[in-house]
């Protein structure tokens, strides 16, 4: 294990939120005070640019540059914090919000100041009730202390932070769908350009940032970009990153480490305690259901944006789902495709219809029905979706299919040869739920 003390999640195992008093005792809101007292909004943007901070919501876009795109014009501008966190395998923003609400709020405040927005919205998925209630309480606490509200800290800057609760739709994490949802419309992505920086919420300039991205900002302001550059692999992979580890590992959970400091294998073995079954790793999904699987031969890839991309996938939200050798890859693909089928917003025909077809074909193959030509059908159908739709969900939806057909073709064929799935149920590792005697017959997934 490497020598590193977490700074975004400094209280492992804690279940109650850090109060304003406690947060300030440990140096909290120093970044916000420094920004308002000593820095112009443009200074803040320059400092964040110099830090190298890249967006933690998936795309890894440089945060300071995004703020720089917001035009310096009169009239309302908005900051939107993306707290929709619905990617399978992702639970990092939840922990930040539930335990460190003030760290996020300080980041929201600094970002709002940087782009000169007086209204900030935290768009949080509807199921995160505990986190949303905690954030609202923390906003009230900080506003009473004069940190937010009219004339924050007596420096003439007005800041209102609103918590807006979603209602169960993965697509609301896509930034333009998020804006549509906030405007009270069906959350269907917009075509771009114009980008949100120019025409966002209520058609006004808007920056959209992920929870974890914004949680990094107070540290950058308080300690300086030079300090931040000492964490991770500068210049393109700086700072701490929270890795969500789930699936077949002994110790699932959030692990905060510097970008690029460990490999997939090290994270799984040293932090996750190895696979829960003891069987070798078959593959790892590095970004929930949305990026191509990393096969076992690439587990020595470092966990940073550029290394994972070189290995043919994406770090994305860094939600690592570990599959061991006892897991049926076709079944895993079918389950992920069922997610996309369920979550497609329906605006583009290839995505709306195609995700359903892909799912149907995968279910058929998993049951040992269908034929080898179905594999070509899966690939050509994926080609008709990817790149031909309005938002990245359509592209995401093809990766469970194309990456597993490419990497595990023999396993698909084995299903066809046997006329059934060679892996009983979810294999032999379903935790304490292992039954071995036929188990529960729910029909929920097997249809």
């Amino acid at each position: 294990m490497i020598d590193y003390k977490p700074i975004l999640l400094p209280h492992p195992g804690r279940t109650t939120p850090v109060s304003l008093e406690e947060y300030r005792q440990k140096g909290g809101y120093r970044g916000w005070e420094k920004a308002l007292r000593e820095m112009s909004p443009d200074d803040v943007i320059e400092e964040v640019k110099a830090s190298g901070l890249r967006g933690r919501g998936g795309a890894g876009f440089p945060c300071g540059a995004k703020w720089g795109f917001v035009p310096r014009i009169e009239g309302p501008k908005y900051l939107c914090c993306n707290a929709d966190e619905s990617e399978p395998g992702t639970f990092k923003d939840r922990e930040i919000m539930e335990i460190e609400p003030h760290m996020l709020l300080e980041g929201v405040a600094i970002a709002s100041y940087a782009i000169r927005a007086n209204d900030a919205f935290i768009y949080i998925r509807g199921e995160y009730v505990t986190a949303a209630d905690g954030l609202e309480a923390a906003i009230e606490e900080a506003t009473r202390a004069g940190l937010f509200g009219a004339d924050a800290l007596g420096k003439g800057f007005d800041l209102r932070i609103h918590v807006f609760r979603g209602a169960g739709a993965y697509i609301c994490g896509e930034e333009t769908a998020l804006l549509e949802s906030l405007e009270g419309r069906r959350p269907m992505p917009r075509s771009r350009p114009p980008f949100p920086a120019v025409e966002g919420l209520y058609r006004r300039p808007t920056a959209v940032n992920n929870v974890e991205t914004l949680a990094n900002v107070p540290l950058i302001l308080a300690n300086g970009s030079a300090w931040y550059q000492t964490i991770g692999v500068p210049p393109r992979n700086t700072g701490p990153k929270i890795f969500c580890l789930s699936g077949r590992v002994k110790r699932p959970g959030n692990y905060e480490l510097p970008l690029g400091s460990v490999t997939f294998r090290e994270l799984i073995d040293q932090y996750g305690g190895g696979t829960s079954t003891g069987a070798p790793v078959k593959g790892v999904l590095p970004a929930g259901a949305s990026a191509p699987i990393i096969t076992a031969d690439r587990l020595d890839t470092r966990l940073d944006y550029d290394s994972v991309q070189e290995a043919g996938s994406m770090l994305g939200s860094a939600s690592l789902i570990v599959l061991d050798e006892t897991v049926c890859i076709v079944r895993a693909a079918a389950l992920m495709e069922e997610f996309f089928r369920h979550e497609s917003c329906g605006k583009c025909t290839p995505c709306r219809e195609g995700t359903g077809w892909l799912h149907d074909i995968l279910v058929r193959l998993e049951g040992g029905r269908g034929s080898e030509s179905d594999l070509e059908l899966l690939m050509s159908l994926s080609g008709e979706i990817s790149g031909k739709v309005l938002c990245a969900l359509g592209d995401f939806a093809t990766s469970p299919v194309t990456a597993t057909v490419r990497g595990f073709r023999d396993e698909y064929l084995q299903h066809l040869e046997l006329g059934r799935c060679p892996y009983p149920d979810w294999g032999s590792g379903a935790g304490s739920w292992e039954l071995g005697d036929g188990g529960w017959q729910t029909g929920a997934h097997r249809g």
């Binding site: 419309r185 209520y202 002994k250 979810w426």
Partner: protein
């Protein structure tokens, strides 16, 4: 059909945001919290209060999975079946709940007390899998023992809320008895 309290809450939402249409979603949630679901009359009343067309409110009510345009059970038990949970036995959890409650996934008990749902949506609790939501509460780390306790709790609640009508559920599904607890990770 909305009570004065609900109407007040909705009008407060309308005041809160830069544009009133933003209040439609929170307003629909207030209406659902009162009624349990969103009948067409409630959707219309919300739209009138916020000041948007009925269609504008309806297009949200019919889109989001947390908004319901049909009545269901008073207590909703929603099991996540997405990959990380599936790898920890989520389907068996769903089966155990079905057997214990005496209903099939997708159904409600005949007295309308409990509805059981399996969903491919992930709830951000994958490190504490398998899990379910009971209305808005997260129930995580559902080992067989914890599941037995949950079934007990649900059926006890149901006895309380159904005026002595007894449920026919079995409390400890046969296949759960005597299973070892799962060694819990981080």
């Amino acid at each position: 059909m909305l009570t004065p309290e609900t109407r007040d809450k909705i009008l407060t939402e309308v005041e809160r945001y830069p544009q009133r249409r933003t209040a439609v979603l929170p307003a629909l949630k207030h209406a659902q919290a009162q009624i349990g679901w969103l009948p067409p009359e409630a959707i219309g009343e919300v739209a009138d209060l916020v000041g948007v067309s009925h269609a504008a409110a309806n297009e949200l009510a019919t889109f989001y999975s947390m908004l319901r345009t049909r009545p269901g059970g008073r207590t909703r038990v929603e099991v996540c079946l997405q990959l990380p949970c599936a790898l920890a036995g989520a389907e068996r959890l769903l089966g155990a709940l079905a057997e214990g409650l005496g209903i099939r996934p997708g159904e409600a008990t005949t007295d309308g007390a409990i509805e059981l749902i399996g969903t491919p949506e992930c709830f951000g609790a994958c490190h504490r899998a398998p899990m379910c939501r009971v209305n808005d509460d997260y129930r995580e780390h559902l080992t067989p023992e914890a599941t037995c306790a949950l079934i007990e709790e649900l059926t006890a609640d149901r006895r309380r809320t159904t005026d002595g009508r007894r449920p026919r559920a079995r409390h400890s599904p046969s296949s759960l008895v005597g299973r070892p607890a799962r060694a819990e990770g981080a």
